[in-house]
């Protein structure tokens, strides 16, 4: 089981890159950036130069607002620069954001994501082997390349592609054509076992691949702290996050799986009324323990292993930028 860190790129690119260096020094296996308010690749290219062994990647980069050609070139550049340590993690985001924040079409996201990935692989084949670029799909067609626009072969051309999956069909697509699945942080063990895992297995079966060919990455909400204050603050933050996700339609399957629809409806109503402070209180202790790992710093790694053994290949912990002391404590116990 590998332990990675995740972070949100900030206004301080140097600091972002330093965080990744720090994570490498602490023994983390990977660092994942998320595409939210900043470009997710800038911090990775800076970190690639300043690190040696840590895996870098996106969790996730929003796919559709970039041509697959653009994503393919970015990944190629980062794979070359990092000596093969880069993973392209993609996600669809949700329809409202794609249409209204990116001014991009939203049609058949699963079919389009499939073609997005197939298109990227066709492009990479042209880069690596000089093959004629000829990809013809419903959403994407790629049929033009010339030497001037072709970066040529690199030493590590087998760049892993992971996708984020909430919708079970997306999890199945991941199993079918990707090297990994980024599970959403908003998940429970039963949901992972009973809904996501079978979909991955169906996908793997459809493409004749084994479970060992595939990586399941799982971001874990952690409630922990070195002092009661630190722990309380962590708990509030995690409750807020759970409340937020639990109130949104995109993640209702998880709530439904546990028979928590009534909580979801209540939270949704509170969200619409702007009652954000009351929402945390509506998250029961039972829910907190299902959605998060609650443990003392030295116990976090062991609790995670116990819960996710046999299910997750990589565990992702959100990097605490303000104070890496807690990360250090957790990291020390990962190695044990």
């Amino acid at each position: 089981m590998k332990f990675d860190m995740t972070f949100l790129p900030s206004s301080d690119l140097s600091a972002d890159a330093r965080q990744i260096q720090q994570a490498e020094a602490l023994g983390f296996d990977g660092a994942w950036s998320a595409e939210v308010a900043h470009n997710p690749f800038f911090s990775l290219t800076l970190a690639a130069k300043a690190t040696r062994s840590i895996q870098i990647g996106t969790q996730i980069a929003v796919a559709f607002p970039r041509s697959p050609m653009v994503s393919a070139q970015i990944a190629w550049d980062l794979a070359q620069q990092s000596g093969g340590r880069f993973t392209l993690g993609l996600g669809t985001q949700v329809s409202a954001h794609i249409i209204r924040r990116f001014s991009e079409a939203w049609t058949d996201p699963i079919g389009r994501m499939r073609e997005y990935i197939e298109g990227i692989r066709a492009i990479w084949d042209t880069f690596q082997n000089g093959s004629r670029l000829r990809y013809r799909g419903v959403h994407y067609q790629f049929r033009l390349m010339s030497p001037f626009f072709n970066p040529g072969p690199i030493e590590h051309p087998d760049i892993p592609i992971y996708i984020a999956g909430v919708n079970p069909r997306m999890c199945r697509l991941a199993g079918e054509i990707c090297q990994g699945l980024h599970v959403h942080g908003f998940h429970t063990l039963p949901y992972l076992k009973e809904v996501i895992r079978p979909q991955i297995e169906q996908g793997l079966s459809a493409s004749g691949r084994r479970r060992s060919d595939f990586a399941v990455t799982v971001p874990v909400f952690v409630v922990s702290g070195r002092t009661p204050e630190e722990t309380r603050a962590a708990e509030n933050e995690v409750r807020m996050r759970i409340a937020f996700y639990a109130s949104t339609p995109a993640y209702q399957r998880v709530m439904a799986h546990h028979g928590w629809d009534d909580i979801r409806i209540r939270l949704s109503r509170m969200a619409r009324a702007g009652k954000w402070d009351e929402m945390s209180a509506a998250v029961s202790d039972e829910m907190l323990n299902e959605f998060a790992i609650v443990a003392a710093p030295e116990e976090v790694a062991a609790s995670i292993r116990q819960r996710y053994d046999g299910l997750a290949d990589r565990i992702c912990l959100a990097w605490q930028a303000q104070d890496s002391g807690l990360m250090e404590m957790i990291a020390q116990n990962i190695k044990k």
Partner: protein, 339 residues
């Protein structure tokens, strides 16, 4: 007059070094072109490795990226460079947009107009926190929540340059942009007689008659220290000129000089796969209109002489490669004259 260099970055681990070298030479700007590699990644390195030089794209292809992503890229680089970033955009041409990027191509001038307007609207929303609203035929924005907003920052007036050869783009630049990358394939006559009036018409349309439009260009140059070097440089420049001269989009430049008969002749050669001979159709007299011909130590002075009052920023058509010893004398002469 500013002196810039262009880089086609293919080694991200050297990008910082290259940028620092440009700054150490005393040059004014570094442009990254988008061809086989992403143009923004090397600029991320350059932003943090330099303090003075302007940094920008010449050009980044617009349509394969949502304006939201382009706006974020520019915002990030403007912030990291403390306001030295210039977003240079180009439309590319239809076959590349539709068949290489598999992106939408409508009416490019209208699409680019809306693209630029969208960038301005997004940056305004980033800066002020006002809701994002921008509507058009090609782009519609109506959502930006706090989680997805970068922080406001001091360097929010990000210059946009567009690149082109024809009057449509020149007018658009005059109307909406901060600068224009004049295509290397131009003549001073074309610049004076065709482009300058187009910029002015655009400025009038945009009611910004007094606006400063920064004109930038990478000039074809023929130079060398030996007869052999000069001859090689001449053939290369003539070949590059011949290639552009054979392309329909650039015919207006030839038409101005009455050289349009060249077009079918060049295309006939192309069809017969005689690319290596196309340079023979470009006379020395013609060359003088498209390129500046001089030994390395005179070159920057001749460029300045020709373009004084016409261009604000110049560079040379070939890429800046600090480890290329054969070009070092050219850069040193340029630094001496211009920096």
């Amino acid at each position: 007059m500013k002196f810039d260099v262009t880089v086609f970055s293919d080694d991200l681990n050297r990008a910082s070094q290259v940028a620092r070298t440009v700054e150490d030479y005393g040059f004014d700007g570094l442009w990254v072109a988008e061809a086989a590699h992403n143009p923004f990644l090397p600029l991320a390195h350059a932003c943090l490795a330099t303090e003075r030089i302007d940094l920008g794209t010449a050009i980044a292809v617009a349509f394969p990226r949502s304006p939201m992503m382009m706006a974020q890229n520019a915002w990030d680089l403007a912030e990291q460079s403390r306001g030295r970033f210039i977003l240079g955009l180009g439309t590319q041409i239809k076959p590349h947009i539709t068949r290489r990027f598999s992106a939408k191509w409508g009416k490019p001038l209208q699409q680019l107009r809306e693209y630029i307007q969208s960038l301005h609207a997004i940056w305004h929303s980033f800066k002020t926190g006002d809701p994002l609203v921008s509507q058009g035929e090609y782009y519609n924005f109506s959502l930006l929540t706090p989680f997805f907003r970068p922080q406001p920052m001091a360097y929010h007036d990000i210059p946009i340059y567009i690149a082109g050869v024809n009057t449509g783009l020149a007018k658009l630049a005059g109307e909406l942009c901060d600068g224009f990358h004049v295509h290397s394939f131009h003549t001073p006559s074309y610049l004076r007689q065709v482009l300058l009036p187009a910029f002015q018409e655009g400025r009038q349309r945009g009611k910004r008659e007094e606006a400063d439009l920064s004109l930038s260009c990478a000039i074809f140059v023929v130079t060398g220290q030996t007869e052999a070097e000069i001859e090689k440089s001449k053939v290369l420049s003539k070949s590059q000129i011949a290639f552009y001269a054979s392309t329909p989009s650039y015919s207006k430049v030839l038409e101005l000089h009455g050289w349009q008969d060249l077009i079918p002749q060049l295309n006939a050669m192309l069809r017969r796969n005689r690319w290596n001979d196309m340079h023979t159709l470009i006379s020395d007299a013609m060359l003088e209109h498209f390129a500046v011909v001089a030994p390395p130590d005179e070159l920057p002075y001749k460029v300045r002489e020709r373009y004084d009052g016409l261009l604000d920023r110049v560079g040379f058509y070939f890429p800046f490669e600090p480890n290329d010893d054969s070009k070092r004398i050219i850069w040193e002469a340029a630094a001496k004259a211009m920096a």
